[in-house]
């Protein structure tokens, strides 16, 4: 099968179906809505279920119930809706249930704006809901990567028995690009942990393992350490000899890729670390370069900077860390180059 031209939200939705996903439940919100509209028609064609829920709170509880049956399931939202989902995400994490939650990130707190943003970084990567948990967070920067990572997200969700977040944004959701879609995967809900009625065996009661005593704590530590050790993913571009290494994901990373080329053409040695997993944050990517680069610049579509804190943790004080907080207007290549010059001239104050 060759490439097809698709809208981001729809390409992601189709890839989910092909990954074996058989339920979507959600609530309309811009800029996620095309994803649910597409699946409302598509899922019944493959014997799947589409439920338009009365709220995001209800939708994530539906996902939680559906995930417990062993099927691959997905929901998607944005901004205020993603906040409402945190209750059920915490329950899914506590009961070790797999599922994929897409946040097509919009800009701002409260109602915010419908334009693309990256202000849900903390909420996605640091837990989001109540209690101790982390979720693998994948951050695609092209539509092909949306397609590839949703497939991977379902696999990792089942491998580690955890919900997984796919963090895209309004630009990636709404733009069109050519994508190559994977083949249809078979559906296999017959998992050993799935609820299906006790039959002739022992009954199952899915409730948090915390009731089992302190072994629960050790289990959490082990689970999340294992994911941190094994699942860091990133792309490094021209970082070996870079004086300034940009750090950016998603839409910001697309702009940074161009900035690296433009900078090098003008004699500014820029590089880029593009985290593909935001949690676990790719600390491993920084180890070979934190002593060689003169500075790091986190480029983000947030007003006050969020990922920059993880960049600082990764750099470990070996070099100054700066931030370009683009806010509601996507970052500009020229601004990145100007900041790079200012950093090299010692005119820009670092944040860490």
């Amino acid at each position: 099968m060759g490439k097809v031209l698709m809208k981001g939200n729809e390409a992601l939705a189709e890839a989910a179906v092909r990954a074996g996903c058989r339920l979507y439940c959600g609530y309309p919100i811009t800029p996620q809505t095309e994803l649910m509209e597409y699946l409302s028609g598509r899922l019944p064609e493959v014997g799947g279920q589409f439920v338009q829920a009365e709220s995001e709170v209800s939708a994530i509880s539906m996902l939680y119930g559906a995930a417990s049956t062993g099927y691959r399931v997905i929901t998607a939202s944005s901004g205020p809706g993603f906040s409402l989902k945190q209750e059920g995400i915490s329950y899914m994490a506590s009961q070790n249930l797999p599922g994929v939650i897409v946040d097509v990130c919009r800009y701002g707190s409260g109602l915010g704006l419908i334009c693309p943003g990256q202000g849900d970084y903390f909420q996605a990567t640091k837990g989001g809901g109540h209690g101790d948990y982390r979720l693998p967070v994948y951050a695609p920067h092209t539509l092909q990567e949306c397609v590839d990572l949703v497939t991977l997200a379902f696999e990792k969700a089942e491998e580690y028995l955890t919900p997984v977040i796919l963090l895209t944004d309004g630009a990636l959701g709404q733009m069109m690009e050519g994508v190559e879609l994977p083949e249809m995967q078979p559906v296999d809900p017959d998992k050993p942990w799935a609820l299906k009625g006790k039959g002739e065996g022992e009954y199952r009661f899915l409730i948090t393992d915390a009731y089992g005593g302190p072994a629960y704590d050790e289990g959490l530590r082990k689970k999340y350490k294992q994911i941190e050790d094994r699942e860091q993913r990133w792309e490094s571009i021209e970082t070996e000899d870079a004086d300034i290494i940009l750090v950016a994901y998603g839409t910001s990373a697309r702009i940074c890729k161009r900035a690296v080329k433009m900078g090098r053409a003008q004699g500014i040695r820029l590089g880029l670390i593009r985290p593909v997993t935001l949690w676990p944050f790719p600390f491993q990517a920084f180890r070979p370069v934190r002593d060689t680069a003169q500075a790091f610049l986190s480029v983000e579509m947030s007003a006050i900077g969020q990922m920059v804190e993880d960049v600082a943790l990764a750099v470990k004080g070996k070099a100054p860390v700066h931030v370009y907080t683009a806010g509601m207007v996507p970052p500009k290549e020229q601004r990145i180059l100007t900041m790079a010059r200012e950093i090299l001239d010692g005119k820009l104050e670092e944040v860490f």
């Binding site: 439940c25 509880s61 119930g65 039959g199 002739e200 009954y203």
Partner: protein, 245 residues
């Protein structure tokens, strides 16, 4: 030799409920009905938060602990993926009529093929007897120390009547305050489950139940209070049923 009275096989050990609690009776009725209908092996229960979830420890069928109020949404997800299973929600009045009001109304509005058992004892039991949407006028609770003031808190919610205006399969309200009402309630639970088995749509049984601990009454006086004070406001009977049943 006397007659041997045997409990349902899927109830193991003791419940852990307070003395005189209504939940134990209702759990037993559910277990009896499931076994009589041969459904216990394919049952999945979505459990509410509160005293309801004590059921999890000793009724041996598949269960999932739902978030507070969200048991009907969780059950929806299960039933949609496993339509051949029997899917129940088991919820108290604080859970279903307050924090979970949206979830139950919309599960009923979608005519989701699940069955809800709604235990109405008029208080939040597990947290220590606070006022619920179902608390009767002038009733003293932990958060209505001078009695429920309806001028500020409104009148008790009649959830079954609210559900009954929707196009659902079966709605009934029973009680467990004496043997006759217990028997009647069991027949309601059976009909509600049969409605799901027959794929007719959403079914619900509200059960008026005592909470001696938080009512600060003896178990016996609690049963008498249901007869004298609760039933006059919450009329028992079948609110929605198929013609001829």
């Amino acid at each position: 030799m006397g007659k041997e009275y045997k409990g349902p096989d899927c109830i193991k050990g003791t419940s852990g409920y307070c003395a005189g609690c209504g939940h134990g009776i209702i759990n037993r009725l559910i277990a009896e009905v499931l076994e009589e209908m041969g459904l216990e092996k394919k049952t999945i229960i979505s459990l509410a938060v509160g005293c309801s979830c004590i059921m999890g420890d000793y009724v041996e069928v598949d269960k999932i602990q739902a978030p507070h109020g969200r048991a009907p949404a969780t059950a929806t997800g299960i039933k949609r993926m496993r339509p051949d299973n029997l899917v129940l929600t088991y919820q108290g009045d604080g859970d279903i009529a307050s924090i979970g009001c949206a979830e139950i109304i919309h599960a009923a509005a979608r005519n989701e093929k699940i069955t809800t058992i709604f235990v109405n004892n008029g208080v939040y039991g597990m947290t220590g007897g606070q006022m619920a949407p179902t608390t009767l006028p002038h009733q003293v609770t932990a958060t209505s120390p001078r009695g429920r003031d309806t001028s500020l808190t409104g009148m008790p919610v009649k959830l079954s009547e609210m559900i009954a205006v929707l196009p659902v399969a079966y709605v009934a309200r029973g009680s467990v305050h004496n043997p006759a009402s217990i028997k009647k309630t069991k027949s309601y639970i059976k009909k509600a489950i049969q409605a799901q088995v027959d794929k007719e749509g959403f079914s619900m049984v509200e059960v008026l139940a005592p909470c001696p601990t938080n009512w600060h009454l003896s178990p016996l006086a609690s049963m008498e209070r249901i007869e004298q004070e609760v039933i006059p406001y919450y009329t028992p009977g079948e609110l929605v049923k198929k013609e001829g049943v």
